[in-house]
């Protein structure tokens, strides 16, 4: 198959699709950085850094709007079909998810800003540990989703879609541990609530990463795989066989 953004007799269309693809990747990198910065700000309880993330969220919002403007323009002028149509629709959907990832980063930054106002004690290493473990997982998922988008590789997207819901399981165990902390010392209560909110935000980042992978899969394979595995995931049933043959098709 031709690369999804190339090979048109009208070369300008190639350029426009490439530009759209690059903008989406750029937005993806920005949102990834937002999450990473939010985690670093939380780790360091740095209120100033947290404020910077909140400011940066507007940039991401503007990107979403301007990418969608490009999408509407391309549909109006090029009347795309088949792969072109799927590329354009998938990117439009992807930027919606990316914008929400940035919102989750801003949510974490907001909580950090509250924690860092100095009027309370810091949450302590033990409480933060779960958050940071989940943060690494969420970032890893985002990076793999963006790599699948970058290379338009359905095998990589598949890996992310079929993977068992580590984030959900991690959230549940983090929730249990935080509950224990609260029971041990009631003064932990405020921190625990905030950190549960952060964990929830990170779990959502993972969900958005999976959505991005699903749109990449649709873009490449022309099949909509949303909600196919939700039942399994909700029951916590592992959906990946680690002994499976690697899916070598690059689509």
């Amino acid at each position: 198959m031709a690369h999804p953004t190339e090979g048109h007799t009208v070369k300008r269309f190639d350029g426009e699709l490439n530009h759209l693809h690059l903008r989406a990747l750029e937005m993806g990198m920005l949102t990834c950085n937002q999450v990473r910065d939010a985690l670093n700000a939380l780790q360091q309880l740095d209120g100033g850094k947290a404020m910077a993330i909140l400011d940066q969220d507007r940039t991401v919002d503007h990107m979403e709007v301007s990418i969608d403007e490009e999408v509407v323009g391309l549909i109006a002028r090029r009347a795309p079909v088949a792969q072109d149509l799927r590329t354009i629709i998938a990117i439009s959907k992807i930027v919606t998810d990316l914008e929400r990832v940035a919102d989750e980063a801003a949510r974490i930054a907001g909580i950090t800003h509250t924690l860092a106002d100095g009027s309370r004690s810091s949450p302590g290493n033990q409480l933060l540990r779960d958050v940071l473990v989940m943060g690494r997982m969420a970032l890893d998922m985002m990076q793999r989703a963006l790599h699948a988008l970058d290379t338009m590789n359905s095998a990589q997207a598949t890996a992310l879609i079929r993977e068992r819901d580590e984030m959900g399981l991690e959230f549940q165990s983090a929730f249990r541990r935080l509950t224990t902390f609260v029971m041990e010392d009631h003064s932990n209560f405020g921190h625990a609530v905030n950190l549960v909110l952060v964990c929830k935000a990170l779990e959502r980042v993972g969900d958005h990463a999976r959505n991005v992978a699903e749109y990449v899969y649709f873009l490449v394979e022309g099949r909509d795989v949303r909600h196919l595995h939700n039942g399994e995931r909700e029951r916590g049933v592992p959906t990946v066989r680690h002994d499976a043959e690697e899916d070598g098709d690059a689509g």
């Binding site: 985690l39 670093n40 079909v81 799927r86 860092a116 970032l139 793999r144 022309g222 990946v240 499976a244």
Partner: protein
């Protein structure tokens, strides 16, 4: 305030991990619906050529213009009351195949047709078949409107009269009016039925030709680029007409406008250098075609 805060379990990868680091998770292939992708070198027809309720069935149709093998083993059904669009670049054989469906190729010298084409189960290339009634059953509308140099009324009345479909003048009047109404032309011409058909605008002439075709109650209507000489307004009227006519007739339309094929048809067939490459529902063809040649053509990737 936190400058000397110890680094927790945050590892370097949080700041340095490049995108797409390999992970231990391997994908599985089961239950993930995949698109069948067929390579450019494959010439067998991809997709379903049959329909549950066929009016016409073409099987292994080959056409030769002298030495030139113009159509290579084309098999496809034309269903009842459906619109099928044939698309493909010039010289791909789509018009040649269309003309096979009512034996218009008989008149082309040096043209030889092999294979089976049947209408409601009977072979239209049988020796006993008279092509005149066949061409009433399988009517044709051409690229360039070609009204007879007669009055509007006579253009429509001509077919029913020679085929002996009416007995009285009143019946003929009614049939002419009904046909013109179905072609969406009646209101525009009812006060000048005695004027020459050639005096109408291009779009009106094309609708007159459609009225002429449907006046003889065909089973199938073949349209060879019926809108290529028309402006967008006349084109829209013809497309609306195709939609209405498909409630009673099977329609096969050859068009160079892929958007027109996407708008008017329920099934689309893509031809390439004499081969029927892919047949499928129009929706599938235009969102997720299986054959790379189809994909290349409809997305504007022309070699």
């Amino acid at each position: 305030m936190n400058a000397n805060r110890e680094v927790l379990c945050m590892e370097p990868e949080l700041t340095e991990t490049p995108i797409g680091v390999a992970t231990p998770v391997t994908p599985t292939t089961d239950t993930m619906p995949r698109r069948a992708s067929v390579g450019r070198d494959v010439r067998n027809t991809v997709g379903t050529i049959t329909v549950p309720n066929p009016r016409m069935e073409a099987r292994d149709v080959n056409v030769f213009y002298g030495e030139k093998h113009a159509l290579k083993g084309v098999s496809i059904d034309i269903g009842a009351k459906e619109v099928v669009a044939f698309i493909g670049p010039s010289g791909c054989g789509k018009s040649t195949f269309l003309r096979c469906l009512n034996r218009m190729n008989d008149t082309v010298s040096g043209c030889r047709v092999a294979g089976q084409i049947s209408l409601d189960g009977s072979d239209i290339y049988d020796r006993k078949v008279d092509v005149v009634p066949l061409r009433a059953q399988v009517g044709m509308v051409f690229q360039k409107p070609n009204p007879f140099p007669k009055s509007i009324y006579e253009n429509v009345a001509f077919g029913p009269r020679i085929h002996g479909l009416v007995n009285h003048r009143n019946e003929l009047d009614e049939l002419v009016e009904a046909s013109l109404r179905r072609a969406g032309l009646w209101e525009e011409v009812k006060d000048r039925l005695d004027q020459p058909g050639t005096g109408l605008s291009g779009g009106q002439q094309q609708r007159l030709c459609i009225a002429r075709t449907i006046a003889v109650s065909p089973d199938v209507i073949l349209m060879d680029e019926p809108c290529s000489a028309l402006d967008p307004i006349a084109t829209a009227k013809i497309e609306e007409l195709i939609d209405e006519l498909s409630q009673n007739f099977s329609i096969v339309i050859v068009t160079h406008s892929m958007q027109q094929a996407a708008r008017v048809s329920q099934r689309t067939a893509y031809f390439h250098l004499g081969h029927l490459i892919e047949v499928g529902s129009t929706r599938d063809i235009f969102t997720s075609p299986q054959h790379e040649l189809t994909e290349d053509y409809i997305t504007g990737r022309f070699g």
